[in-house]
Each structure stands twice: as structure tokens, then as C-alpha cells.
Subunit: 312 residues, 4 copies
Amino acid sequence: MVIMTSTPSGTFLPILERIAEEISHTPGSGRPADYIPALAACDPRSFGMAVAELDGTVYGVGEWRQPFSAQSVTKVFTLALDLAREGDELWEHVGREPSGNPFNSLVQLEYENGIPRNPFINAGALVVTDRLQTRTGDAAGELLAFLRAESGNPALDFDQEVAASETAHGARNAALAHFMASYGNIDNDVPVLLDQYFRQCSVATSCADLALASGFLARHGIRADGSRLLSRSQAKQINAVMLTCGTYDAAGDFAYRVGLPGKSGVGGGIIAVVPGRCTLCVWSPGLDERGNSVAGVAALDRFTTLTGLSVF
Amino acid sequence: MVIMTSTPSGTFLPILERIAEEISHTPGSGRPADYIPALAACDPRSFGMAVAELDGTVYGVGEWRQPFSAQSVTKVFTLALDLAREGDELWEHVGREPSGNPFNSLVQLEYENGIPRNPFINAGALVVTDRLQTRTGDAAGELLAFLRAESGNPALDFDQEVAASETAHGARNAALAHFMASYGNIDNDVPVLLDQYFRQCSVATSCADLALASGFLARHGIRADGSRLLSRSQAKQINAVMLTCGTYDAAGDFAYRVGLPGKSGVGGGIIAVVPGRCTLCVWSPGLDERGNSVAGVAALDRFTTLTGLSVF
Amino acid sequence: MVIMTSTPSGTFLPILERIAEEISHTPGSGRPADYIPALAACDPRSFGMAVAELDGTVYGVGEWRQPFSAQSVTKVFTLALDLAREGDELWEHVGREPSGNPFNSLVQLEYENGIPRNPFINAGALVVTDRLQTRTGDAAGELLAFLRAESGNPALDFDQEVAASETAHGARNAALAHFMASYGNIDNDVPVLLDQYFRQCSVATSCADLALASGFLARHGIRADGSRLLSRSQAKQINAVMLTCGTYDAAGDFAYRVGLPGKSGVGGGIIAVVPGRCTLCVWSPGLDERGNSVAGVAALDRFTTLTGLSVF
Amino acid sequence: MVIMTSTPSGTFLPILERIAEEISHTPGSGRPADYIPALAACDPRSFGMAVAELDGTVYGVGEWRQPFSAQSVTKVFTLALDLAREGDELWEHVGREPSGNPFNSLVQLEYENGIPRNPFINAGALVVTDRLQTRTGDAAGELLAFLRAESGNPALDFDQEVAASETAHGARNAALAHFMASYGNIDNDVPVLLDQYFRQCSVATSCADLALASGFLARHGIRADGSRLLSRSQAKQINAVMLTCGTYDAAGDFAYRVGLPGKSGVGGGIIAVVPGRCTLCVWSPGLDERGNSVAGVAALDRFTTLTGLSVF
């Protein structure tokens, strides 16, 4: 598959342009994540959006080639990489139910004996990373190699400054990891795990990169090179988990408004999947109070409204 | 639209027959709801499944014409009937996020000041019924008229014995209603509301009835007689709420396994929607620990696996 | 025992006068309870304080003879009246641990299957009243008779306006009662129970009345007429429950500052016990955010500081 | 003050002997703490009890000179040592309310933004140790010096095996510390803090040692050498916190049964204070489900019943 990164004739390009136009008239709303300086410095008015079709065609509007911090969007890829290796045994260590709580809460974790609700809250992503680490010895490296391959962008890399900053402000995640370790649900040493986890969150990617890298979810498990990463059933399952758990404590609202499997990150990126058709990535750093990009959700909402491409 | 209730040539009939065959080889598992005698008396080995196509064709296997207690499946219809009248104002009184808690829990309700998480937990359904009651003066009557019209079955009715039994064992729902009233989120007198609520839950319906009555969700808001109940967008929204919140504390698992918008009831019924294609209803009274029909979920899981008709 | 209601030579009178003097220089702080109009109308600057010695001598300062709404202070007496009849069986239906939650919370009640944490949160007091009602047929009447006898004040009575107002705003307590009924922990019909409960809360009493009525707790279980209400051990136990649970979610702070068994009410009254020595009642309607009288706690704090009469 | 460690004529000796006799007829009940091997190895039938009078006279029964792991009993001394230095500022960092939750729960900590409920749950003790560490540079060393001085036993020491074992099984405490650090409520590096914390918990002490070391709480703040550690008011305050929070989630029951300020540890020790009169320490490793020594609570219950020395 050849990845074509500029396609003036892209099917949805006129729609993307219309959305970008509408968004540009909306004053920047939401606030960038401020728990680490590297994210807080983002301009909340930034906006980019890309669509990747099944054949690897990718196109976009606005700052669709501008790298940003992928953050929790990477949780989808780590989940896929571990599920591909481990299969259903993973689900004995992490659930797949919406949490009904903020993404870094410890409450439910305590009631449920150290088994996180789903792989997309921080606790669950720590478990997935821990398991991938056990299987590969370098979870973050696996992720990076996968993203480079799928996006066709060998320059993709960790952002060391962001990773260092996450580590410096990582007390909550350290608490989550130690807490799960107290229930025997973490295999690796906590500092090793946190290093892997923070590095993978720090990957700098563009909308184009992430739209392409998500393609296997629209292609029912098939990677960019035509090889199979996941079974058809597993790809469907990840989409289901994204729809019910992908946008923190706003999954119901996202399903209601957008109606697509999606995963957001506090860097302001959101990926979304139209199964069998295409993948999208939108980026704008201004977040709502639940940690999702305000303009990003609005743009995806417009996309499914204008195209009728919701799964419902 | 003519409702054809026997269609040997139904598209999915061979698949339904295969599923029924498989299910028949599985020993009855799960236990009927036992909080009221009328439900506890059900035979857990009962099984029926029906498909209604967009044009009103309906067909099924097993006990697909046997009436059973619709229970929480009716919450979908009450939601639609209220949303059709009230529009988005409803969402100021009930959320649309998965709850992450059992369906009759009070915990989240307290933290969120009497606003239930979604319309499908009991607290949320009480709010919806309360609002429909305010607008119509007879919420249960509205529901019954709607079910009769959509199913083409004028014999559909409340089960007075079940309603009386629910009332006698209704202390938890009474607590929920009074609790929300203490936050000003209930308009009607609590005993009036509970009477309406328990009667609507008691409706006795068959798989054929419920598959037909759900048709508007597959037809993007259009009723059986061709009139519009909901806007296209509202129909999509209800499907989204069903997918994220329709099966109690197992919505994530249901999305993962079945991959369709669905709503279950403790009578053992489950409806599911394939948008733009058909609706299904399956019934088997044996419940799992989260209140969903064991054989019902298994049958829907097989259906989407065999047909590839998941939304993902 | 002769009750002497004016004793210029009361042992602690100079100390009470000093406290009243100090309090008078403090601007009224806190706010009267505002959930019912009858309480909201109180003047937050009102202040009265009385001491009753073991022999029934009673004296006070400020508005120590002015009736106010006893509210939750009555929970001590209902507890004693039921414990005297029922003995330890009561503790199978209500715990005796501090709740760590506001006094009308449902959260803990759900985790602990309808068994309230202690007899002084609303849920627990409802259980105690329910059990006393079962044993006497008129729990509120029993309470009234007891208060009249111990205070030597036959004019003590329910305040019908307050009781009616409580009933009209009683949705939260109705929710608590129905909720516990759903666990089988309430015997009487909920409306009957609520009527008994709200009437008993409404009793209008003065500092003098309540200081005298509490005397049995300082006399190790002996009533004003010399008869025994409780065993020595039971009297000690009630004092212990008062110390650990008597001031809502501020029991630790009250123990820390005052160091005496005490019980507060949202009418602004607080009783306190110096075992083997005397009982106190202070009243001032301005409440802190946890529902305790601001000036009342301050006055008791001063009392134990000046006299050294803390139990610690 | 001369510490007399053998006093056949001790006031309460006959009572202790009677209690020991009664306990010896009770089959060992409860189970030793099993989260670390060093504690799990204890014989649950071990029993010792000591009384220290105000003048330093100490006597006991059973294995009253046998060292055991002091564990959480040390929290009282660390609290006193920090309060003596810091005063009321401490209470901005830790509360003094009963928690209503198990001693190592994270739930309340999250709702209350990293401020532990009281100094005797693990989270609160970590805060106290952290603050003492900041003030002294060696919190555990301060504690050890204090215990040696008050008990007159220069051989008192940390148990390195226990400390190492705690560290190896310390994931939950690590989680608590990191979690509070995420709210800015921990000053020192978490590994440094945990080392201090686990060492102080590991101190091996006998009933005689702990009864003597607690003496300042019965002497209203005066140490064994006659110098003042705490103001009279502070000593009273610590007693109050012990009564309301000293026995984990069973403080209400302990107050109800024993009626004295007390503090338990999972090593099976419990200290108790009769203000102005004496201090006690009882030890027996069999714990109830809430972490308190079964025989220890029973022995103290008997003591106050036989002597009438409850504070109530």
C-alpha cells in the first residue's frame, strides 16, 4: 500500500473544509491541559483534521500535519498490540466497562480489587502497558515501531521533554500503579512501568499520522502492509471499547453526539473510526472539563451530521 | 404498512433457526428474576427470537409469540415518547452517561444531586416517566397505545398481577423517587408516579411485538404507519444511549460481544437494533448476575457473528 | 427529687455567666437551618445555656428557658427508651460506628445493606423510632411523656407547625425509610413511621428542659424519680455513642475541642454529659456547615476548658 | 522518676490476674496479621497485659515483658512528637474525624483531596511522619529515642526483618503516599518517607514498654522525667482522637465496650489511657476482621467493667 499524503480529490475534503470554516468562526474555547508545562503552552486556537481512507489515502485541513502530543490516544494502539499477542487472557486483568468516573480515579479500582474498569482509563492503560512490557521487554518501543510503520512516517518519536515532565508530575499514576501492584495486578517494577508508560504517552504525532495509524480498525484488523494484526472479531471489539469507554467520563455524550468509536487524549487529539470506510483524527488543544478537545468533538459531530456516517 | 407475521422466506430465518438449534443444546443457565413471584415462576429454558424487517415483516423461532413481561425494555419506548414531545430539555433532568453501577443504585444519584446518570437505570426511567406523565396525564396509557399501534397487536395489555407485585415490592423504587424529589427532580406525587411506572413495566409482550415496536429505531425515527416519531438525529441518539447504557452494568460487554444498540429487561427480553436494516427481540428468562438474559445475549452474539451485522 | 429551677448559688453559675459574657461579644455566626421556614426564622444571635446537677438543680444564663425545636437532640432519648425495652437486639438493626458522612447520606446505607451506621444519623434514628413504635404503638408519645417527666415541665409539647413543615419537606427522610424497608429493616408502614419521626423531632424544649431530661446519663441510668431506666453499662454505652457519633460529621472535632459526650440538633441545641457530675444544654440557632450550633460548640469548649471537666 | 518494673502490690494487679485467668479459659480466637511473614508467625494464644501508674510503677500479667511488633500503636507517639513541635498547623494537613472506612482505604482520601481523615489511618500517619521527618530529619529515630526514654528501656529497637518485610509488601502504602503527593500533601521523597514509616512501625516493644511510654497521656502531657511534652489541652486532644479514631473502623464499638481512649496495632497490641490515673497495654496477636486484637479488646472491656474506670 502506498501512502498518499496529499489528495486534493479526497472524498470528504469538501466536508472537512466546511467544518474548518465553521470552526474558524468559533472563538477558541476550552483550555489546554495544564498539569505539565509542555502541554499548557499549546495555543487553544490550533486546529487540524485529517481523514485516512482504507487504501491509505490521507488528506486534511488546518494544521493536519503539525505534530502534537498523542497522550491517551496511544492507549488504543497499546491495547491492540497487547491483544494481538495475548488474546482474551488480557480481560482477566482489565475490564471493558465504562467507568462512570474521571480517568484517574482510584475509587472504583478499590471496590473492584485492583482490576481497572477498562483499558482506556489510566489504571487500565497501565495494566495493558505492563503486560505488553512483559511480553516484549520494550512496550514503548513496540508502540513507536507500530506507529512509524502504519503512518509511513519514520520521523515519529517520543518527546523527551514531555516524557520527563510527565514523570515529574506522575504522582497520581505512580499511586495507581502501586495500588494495583498491591493487588498483584502489575508484573513489572513500578518505576520501569511508569517510564514505559510516560514515554509512550509522549509520542509526538500529527493528525495525518494518527488517522493512518488507526486504519487497521476500519480495515477489520488489517495493517497498512496488508498483514493481519487482529482478527475481525478483535477489531470489532476494540471499536466497541472505544465507543463505550474512549472519551473518559463523556463516552455517552460522545456516542450521542458523534456516534463513532473514538479515543481522545489530553493533548487535544481525537481519533474516530468509520468501520469499513475510513478513520479520522482531529486536533485542537482546548479541552472541556472532562478532558476532551472542545473543537475536536464539535468537528466530529459536524462530520457525522454532514455525512450521515454514524454507526447508528 | 401491512404487518406480516409469518414469513417462511424471512432473510435471517435460517440464521435464527441455526441459533435456536445451538441454544437448544445448551442447558438452561442463569436464573429468572426472583424479586417478585410472577417473574420467578418463569421457566429458564424458555427461548424465543424474532426479527422485524424495515417493512414490518416479522418472523421468528422458538417461543417468539409467547408473551412475557417486558419490564425495562419499555424504558426505550417511554424515552422515545418523551423525547418526541420534550426534545433536549429532557437532558437537563437525566444524563446520558453509563453509570458504572447496578441499575438501582443510589450512590451516584447522591453524588450527582438527584440527576440520574441515564434514562435506562431505574432512577432515570422514573424521571422520564414523570416527565411523560406531566405532559400526557397518563404515561403508561401512552406507552400501551404506542406498543399496540407499532406491533399491530391490539391485545397487548398491562399484567395487573405483575404490576401489583411490583408495587408490593417497590420500596427501592419508592426510595429512588423520594430521593430525587428531595432534589426537585420529580414533578408528580410519588405514589402516582410509581403506579404509572410499575404499570408500564408490567406490559406483557412477545418477541414479535417488541421487534416490531422497535422498528422506528431502525427506520431512523419513522413509525410503522410512516409518520415520523423522532428526527433522524434523535433516533440515532437513542441508539447511542442504548449501546452505552442499555444493558445495566454490562453495556461494555454487550457492545464488545454483540456490537448493536440493545436494551434488556429482567423479564428476560432484549431488543437490538441494526440501524437501517432490522430490529430483533430475543427472550429467555434465565438472567446473569447483572440482570441480562444469558441465552438472549448469547443468541445476539451469535447473530452478529454469523451475519457480520455489528455496527463496528 | 425536687427540681429547683432557680439556683443563684449553682456551682457553675459564675462560669456560665463568664461564657455568656464572652459569647455576647462575638458577633452571631453560622446560619439557622433553612430547610423549613419555622427554623429559618430563628434569630441566630439567640443564646442560652443551662446546667442540671445530679440532684435536679438547674440554672442557666441567657435564654435558658426559651423553648426551641429540639430536633435531633431527641434521638438520644428515643435511643434510651428503645434500648431500655429491647436491649442489645437493637444493635442488630443499627450500628454504633461513626459514619464519616453527612447525617442524611444514603451512600453508606447502600454499601452496608440497609443497616445504618449509628442511631444518630437520620437513617439510624428512623430505625430506632420504628422499633420503639413497634413496641409501644406511639413512639412520639412515649418520648413526650419521658421529656415531661424528667424535666418536670408538663407544658412540653410537639410543635405542630414544625412537624407539618418537616413532613412537607421530608422527601429525603422518606427516601431513607423506603430504602431501609427494601432491605427489610423497617417494620411499620413508612408514612406512619415518618409521622412519628417528624413529630418527635418537633418537640419544643428549653435548655432547662433538655439539661434536666439528660440527667439519667450523668446518673448512670437513674431517672429523676430515682427509678432505673438503663443499666449502668447501658448508660455508659449511650455516652460512648454520643461521643463518637453525636455531632454528625464533626464528632471527632467535638471530642477534640469539648471532650464530652454530646448530641446536637439543627434547631441549634446541644446537650452534653459530664458523667457522675452534671448535664448541660446550650442553644444558639446559628449552625456551622456541618449542622452544629457555632456558639453552642464554642460555649461548651469554653466550659470544659474553664472547668477541666472533659472526660479526657 | 524511678521506673519500678515489678510491683506485687500494684493496685490493679488482682484485677489483671482475674482477667488473665478468664482469658486463659477462652480458646485463642482471631488470626494474626498475615500480610507479612514476621507477623503471621505469632502464636495467637499469646497474651500479656500491663498497667503503668502515674508515678512510673508498672506491673502486669502473662507475657507482659515479651517484645512484639508495635505497628500502628506507634502512631500515637509520632503524633505527639509532631504536635509538640508543630502545634495546630498539623491539622491543616490531616483531619481528626473518624473515617468510617478501613484503615488503608483510598476512597475518602480522593473525595477529600488528599487530606487524610485522621492521624491514625495509614494515610494520616504517613502525613504525620512526613511532617516530623521534615522537622527532625529522622522521624523514626526521634520515635525510638522517645520510646526508650519513656519506657526506661534502652534496648528498645527497630526490628529490621519486620521493616524489610513491610517494605517488600508496602505497595498499598506506597500508593497512599504517591496519591497524597499528587495533592501536594507530602514534603519528602516517597521512598524516604516509606523507609521512615516502615521502620517506626517495626519497633519491638513489650506491654511494659508501651504502658510506660503512654504515661504522658494520663499525666496530661508530662513526660516520665517530669518535663512537659504537650500542653494539658493537647494531651486531652490526643486522647480524644484516640477515642474517636484509635481502633480503625471499630472506634465506636471500642468506645461502647471499653470506654477509654485507645490505640491498636496489627501486631496485636493495644494501649489505653485512664486520664489522671494510669495507662494500660494489652497484647495478643489474634485479630478480628477489623484488625484489633480479639483478646486485647476483651481484656480491656473486662478491665473497665471490673474497675468502673471508663471515661463515661
